[in-house]
Symmetry: C2
Subunit: 289 residues, 2 copies
DNA sequence: TAGCCTCCAATTGTCCAACAATCGAACAAA
DNA sequence: TTTGTTCGATTGTTGGACAATTGGAGGCTA
């Protein structure tokens, strides 16, 4: 790639950041690790990094409109196509997003995006049920303890509503996986800690749906789940952090027991997310293959 | 944008996935809001999703080469520019990577990339020191307990080496933040749980470097840290999960105490990562502004 | 003046066609 | 075996176009 080539070019080379006039590459397989291999980044990546830095540094605040592609390309001294490639990079990072319509905004990456991408990575790594379970075995009680100290009335109400719906679903033999996930997510939210949200969600997103595979084998599981949720909720309402934490631990432990009883191997890698339950935005935004 | 326009076009429309034969757009002036607006994704996004699906489903295995851009564009029935935009999306997701050289490979997203992106998001959300601390207060002891049961000899050796270097750094008044991070990372690795790695790293990446701000105020902090690390390591070697966990808890708790004593507000948002200490790849791969 | 409709400039999505710099592999020379 | 040389394939970048939408600025009615 013509680093500084400006072939037919009229584009102002001076405006191009990082137009390092560095030696091409130092040769590939040098048996002597004498020189550090100097990395030359393609222009589209430089575009990405430049704008990224602009946002990270706060000079470009979330919510603010980005300049038009043409103007951007102009300012950076690259072609619009190149600028667009940089924008795609930003788009996927979540640092730039298009609201409804086309205009691009600077933005903060959304939790859901981060989590779902992390989940995908875990799946691709063939992470096992056991690994996920070990994580949640620690995080969920921890989060519950925090939530007990901070939960607000409206959040209690949301949990009560969730519990009622779960009871109903269980009584009528309907699936309750989604409701279970919602319950745990609500508690995590009640913990009022964004870092926790991010830490637990990828594992939660993968482990809980796995329940669908075991529930059919265990008629009791629904009742046990409702009982546990009820106890946790009660403890939260009473502000008893240790009790909430304890019940949560039992609840998650139960999860594993369920798996064992259903005869499923704990050390099997988890599969792909079947139905991430996001008909909300997903269906509107993209059409699948 | 000409969804299916193929304007001057010669490109095989049939080959185009998702060439939904939807009415151009229901015509703008349709006085009847009869149909729900069906979300049309730009072609470059369809390209992205198509290839993503190919990888996620395992039809395209990690490590495998992708077809050339021209051929790809050809197969998908879009222009090379458009295909490239899709590739940028994939590139940033980490599902596609360029080894050394240019050819693109299918790949699994790297832990580091996921973590650093997550960290950035936390910073942009102005997450506070307290939030991070609350997370690590739970995760680190949990991870240590697991590590006690699984740690291998070579991992013990690595920790011992790290401890020795830390002692040296402390004794000679050098910075030891990097070594501290390494110590914790090694333990996380010893826990042999990839989901844990992902869960704790974003917070760790942000919290530990913050020590740089407090160490200067606390002459003792280095010694306390070495003592704690030593105790944890001893417990790990002895396979005493609960002891390791306990010492780790104290260690992290100490962290906060240090902050208090240094007179730093716990509820202040953490700043940007100053020096993520990755001269290894960072310096080689990109040149900064 | 508020409300509505029309027309136009600005912007995004795609596409085409080239060219420069490399990479890679094949082959020749030292 | 190491070092050049050559040539085709591939990536990085650029210019230039055109269709479909958007967002307003005006202008026209109540």
């Amino acid at each position: 790639m013509p680093r500084n080539a400006d072939q037919h070019g009229a584009v102002a080379d001076a405006a191009r950041p990082n137009s390092v006039g560095a030696p091409q590459d130092a040769g590939r397989a040098g048996p002597e690790p004498r020189f550090a291999k100097l990395g030359l980044a393609p222009a589209y990546r430089v575009v990405f990094e430049t704008i990224e830095e602009e946002i990270l540094s706060g000079r470009l605040k979330p919510g603010e409109r980005l300049p038009s592609e043409t103007s951007l390309a102009d300012q950076l001294g690259v072609n619009r196509s190149t600028a667009r490639e940089g924008l795609r990079l930003l788009e996927e990072t979540g640092l730039v997003r298009r609201e409804e319509g086309r205009r691009l905004f600077a933005a903060i990456p959304r939790q859901e995006d981060l989590s779902s991408r992390a989940s995908r990575a875990l799946v691709l790594q063939h992470v096992t049920f056991r690994e996920l379970w070990e994580v949640l075995m620690v995080t969920e009680p921890g989060v519950a303890a925090l939530a007990a100290e901070r939960i607000r009335a409206d959040q209690v109400a949301a949990l009560e509503d969730n519990l009622a719906r779960t009871e109903d679903a269980v009584r009528n033999g309907r699936g309750f996986t989604q409701l279970d996930m919602e319950f745990h997510a609500l508690i995590a939210e009640a913990a009022g800690n964004r870092a926790w949200l991010l830490a637990r969600e990828p594992a939660a997103l993968l482990l809980f749906p796995a329940m669908d595979h075991m529930a059919p084998h265990l008629p009791q599981s629904g009742l046990r789940l409702v009982e546990a949720h009820g106890q946790v909720l009660a403890a939260l309402k009473a502000g008893k952090a240790d009790v909430a934490s304890d019940w949560m631990r039992k609840h998650i432990a139960d999860f594993r027991r369920g798996y064992n009883m259903a005869g499923i191997d704990i050390d099997l890698p988890v599969g792909r997310l079947e139905n991430p339950a996001d008909e909300s935005k997903s269906a509107a935004k993209r059409r699948s293959s």
